[in-house]
Every structure is written in C-alpha cells, then in structure tokens.
C-alpha cells in the first residue's frame, strides 16, 4: 500500500491504494468518479481517457503511482457548474452519442485534439486523431461532426476570454 497525493478536478486528494492499482480504478472505485469507463483490457478502446497534466491518456494503462503529484481531469471536471463544456454541448446538439459508453473518453480525447490543433481542424484530421477511441454505436459520423462543431465553439469561447 502507498499513499498517493494528486489533484483531481481541481481538488487535492490523498488516498491509500495498493501499488498495483490502475489510475482508472483509483478514480472509479476510491473516488467514486464513475464517469470514466473501462471498455477493454487491451489499452485500445479509449473509454477510460482522462487528462493528466493536460494530456489525454488511457487511465487503464497508468498506475496510480505514476500519477502521483499530477493534475488529473475527468469528465466530471470539465463543465462549469450547470453549464456544459462546449465539447459536451456539441456532442448533445449533434447527436454524437447513442449508448454513451464511449462518450466520456471521446470527449476527453476530443478536447485534447482541439487544444493541440486549434481551429485548424478538418474532418480527416479528426478521424485520424480519434484512432485511439472506439465507438460501437454511432459509426463515428456524428462524433466527427460534434468535434468540428466544438472546435469552432471553443475558439469563440477562447476569443471571448
């Protein structure tokens, strides 16, 4: 067992977990942040994507200990109170989800994509960048549409700040 201190969604937390604990299990089981999902056992589906120090990573393939001292953001930490993050709003408006299982990971990956590419995103780039996220429902079409829509909204939001 080890005591791990990290920041999750802006709050400092200190938890005691077994050394073999994966970050996703720390989030879901110890902190009850069940928005982050586990969809595979092979690091391929992206349902578990969270941000560590601003980078979208698969939390099922990171030990809790590796995240000690880091700033972790999950799907629960991106809205401002009742106001959805522009990426969440775009997924809702463009019907970018069906069952919703992949959605938290899709949204966390997509925010990272927009952060890296800014407003210069096109459809081909979005499809290429979403290679680490699998959706079994939508056929991706509306997910890509959502990300492109959100890229525009995030640019406007940034310009307003």
């Amino acid at each position: 067992m080890s005591t791990i201190k990290l920041t999750v969604n802006g709050k400092a937390v200190s938890v005691e977990v077994e050394d073999r604990t994966l970050l996703v299990h720390l989030l879901r089981e110890t902190l009850n942040l069940t928005g982050t999902h586990v969809g595979c056992d092979t690091s391929q589906c992206g349902a578990c994507v969270v941000h560590i120090d601003g980078q979208a990573v698969k939390s099922c393939t990171v030990l809790a200990g590796q995240a000690a001292g880091a700033n972790v953001t999950t799907i629960e930490g991106i809205s401002k109170g009742d106001e959805l993050h522009p990426m969440q709003a775009a997924f809702r408006d463009n019907h970018g989800l069906q069952c919703g299982y992949c959605t938290p990971g899709m949204i966390m990956s997509s925010i990272d994509i927009v952060n890296r590419h800014g407003g210069k995103l096109d459809e081909e780039t979005v499809r290429h960048e979403l290679e680490g996220n699998i959706c079994r429902c939508t056929g991706y079409h509306n997910i890509v549409k959502s990300v492109l829509d959100a890229a525009g909204r995030m640019k406007v939001a940034q310009a307003a700040e």
């Binding site: 050394d19 073999r20 690091s43 391929q44 990573v57 200990g65 590796q66 990956s109 990272d112």
Partner: protein, 266 residues
C-alpha cells in the same frame, strides 16, 4: 494484475540499485507494453521501477553528425522536436504513425527498443540508420542489438539511457498498419548514409523480428529509385504467416513499403 511494489527513483543509479534489490524487478517507462502484459498476468514483477520521471533520461539533442534521443523521451516529445524534424524527418513520420495519440503521450523510444516487439516501428529505424544504443554500462551497436523476438543484447538490469542516430543523407519509412492494433503488418525503413551506404530494415515481416533486407539494399545501391525495385523478388523463407497475411503477402509488402519509403525519402 498480481501484487507488486512500485518505485519512483530520481536517477539512473538509484533505479539500477532498486532493480538489483528486488527478487524479480522490471523497469517501467511509458508502461504501454508492460502494464497490458501485467494485466493479462503474463508478467508479475515483484518490483516495478519507474524510469519515466528520471530527468537525465529525457531529452533530444543534435551534436555533430547524430540525433540523440534519450530513452524515456515520449513519442509525443519526438513529434514536437524541431531538431528531429530538421535532421531526420523520417523518424518524426515513423512516430506519427505509431499507435494512437494517447499511446504517443506515454510510450517511450527506450521502451520500444528494449521490448523489441517483432512488429514495433523503432527497431526498424535503429537498424536501418545504424544507430547506437547507450546504456548505463556500455555502448551497443544497433547491428548487434536485436536478438530475435522480444529479446535484445541488454543484460538483466541494464538500462538504455539514449539512442543515437547518425544523420543520414536520405531516409524514409512506410508501413502497412494493422487496422486494429496499429502495429506494423510490415514496415520498411530505407536509409542512405552520408558515406553512401544503403541500409534497409523491415519490421513486422520476419519470424525473427526486425531484419535487414539485402536484396533491396543491393538494388537501391545500384539505383536509388522506387522503380529499381520493380523486378526484385523477396525470398519468403522465415517470413511470418498468420491470419493477417501469408508469407508471400508479406514478401510483397516488403517490396511495396520499400518503394513508398524511397519515394518519401526523395
């Protein structure tokens, strides 16, 4: 995953000391091979020693005629590197088609080379560019480093500290990605050294892991062009055959990927 003890040393010497204290220690860099293997219970190290936070293992620099990438540098950092883009753009291209964005944030060049997966990308660059592997104990020539599937010249507990790539006159990489895993169904790295030597390495194709391809090297030495490979036949002996492709399919892929790599190299 079985129980283990996690350590986060801050220097290479401390990591090596921790390694020898454990009964069955393993180093962890990006963890994107080791953790999936531990999850499947195919590995159960007593101690996991994290190299990822050791500052002396991260960084990229160019000195003289070589691009040196330290072992725990992530793929993402390689993609961002102006030095890498300027000196060996083929390495940046190889990195851009490796895995997916999340894998590229965590995975490291040292982990890839130490692991020597028969379908991994970086072993092809190491072999084709004639790189040298620097460890905490010695310097190993790339030509003698890879020893078949998942095995290398590294001794137990030895740590790769950096990989040094001689800057070539020309180089290119092309791979047929496995559509689900992104690993190389076959990938070919071609290089022409500044001394005029032609070196070609293929990954994902051979039963023994990454390999040089002498027939392609000879044809490109005579005439550096994609067309020079039109009539080359790659022997199928020792090539992989699995549900994804026969050995004849892979032999053909070696040729086609080499042609595309030459075209990309210019």
């Amino acid at each position: 995953m079985y129980e283990t003890t996690y350590h986060r040393p801050s220097s290479v010497d401390e990591a090596a000391a921790l390694f020898s204290k454990g009964s069955d220690s393993k180093y962890l860099a990006g963890g994107h091979t080791l953790l999936p293997v531990m999850k499947q219970r195919l590995a159960s190290p007593s101690d996991v020693i994290d190299l990822g936070r050791i500052k002396e293992l991260v960084g990229i620099d160019v000195s003289g005629d070589a691009l040196t990438i330290k072992a725990a540098t992530t793929y993402f950092d390689i993609l961002q590197s102006a030095e890498a883009k300027k000196t060996i753009p083929a390495i940046v291209h190889l990195t851009s088609v490796l895995g997916d964005p999340q894998v590229r944030y965590r995975g490291t060049i040292g982990g890839s080379v130490a692991n020597n997966d028969p379908a991994a990308d970086f072993p092809a660059a190491v072999l084709a560019l004639g790189a040298t592997i620097k460890t905490n104990k010695r310097t190993i020539a790339g030509d003698g480093f890879f020893k078949g599937l998942f095995s290398t010249a590294l001794e137990d507990g030895e740590i790769i500290t950096a990989i040094s790539f001689p800057i070539p006159a020309k180089a290119g990489y092309s791979k047929m990605r496995h559509p689900a895993s992104r690993f190389a169904l076959t990938g070919v790295f071609v290089a022409q050294t500044k001394a005029g030597e032609v070196r070609v390495a293929a990954t994902g194709a051979s039963q023994n892991g990454v390999m040089r391809v002498p027939v392609i090297e000879a044809a490109l030495k005579a005439n550096w062009s994609a067309g020079a490979l039109d009539n080359v036949t790659i022997p199928t002996d020792g090539l992989l055959a699995d549900i994804h492709g026969s050995s004849a399919y892979r032999a053909n892929l070696i040729k086609v990927m080499a042609q595309r790599a030459v075209a990309a190299a210019g």
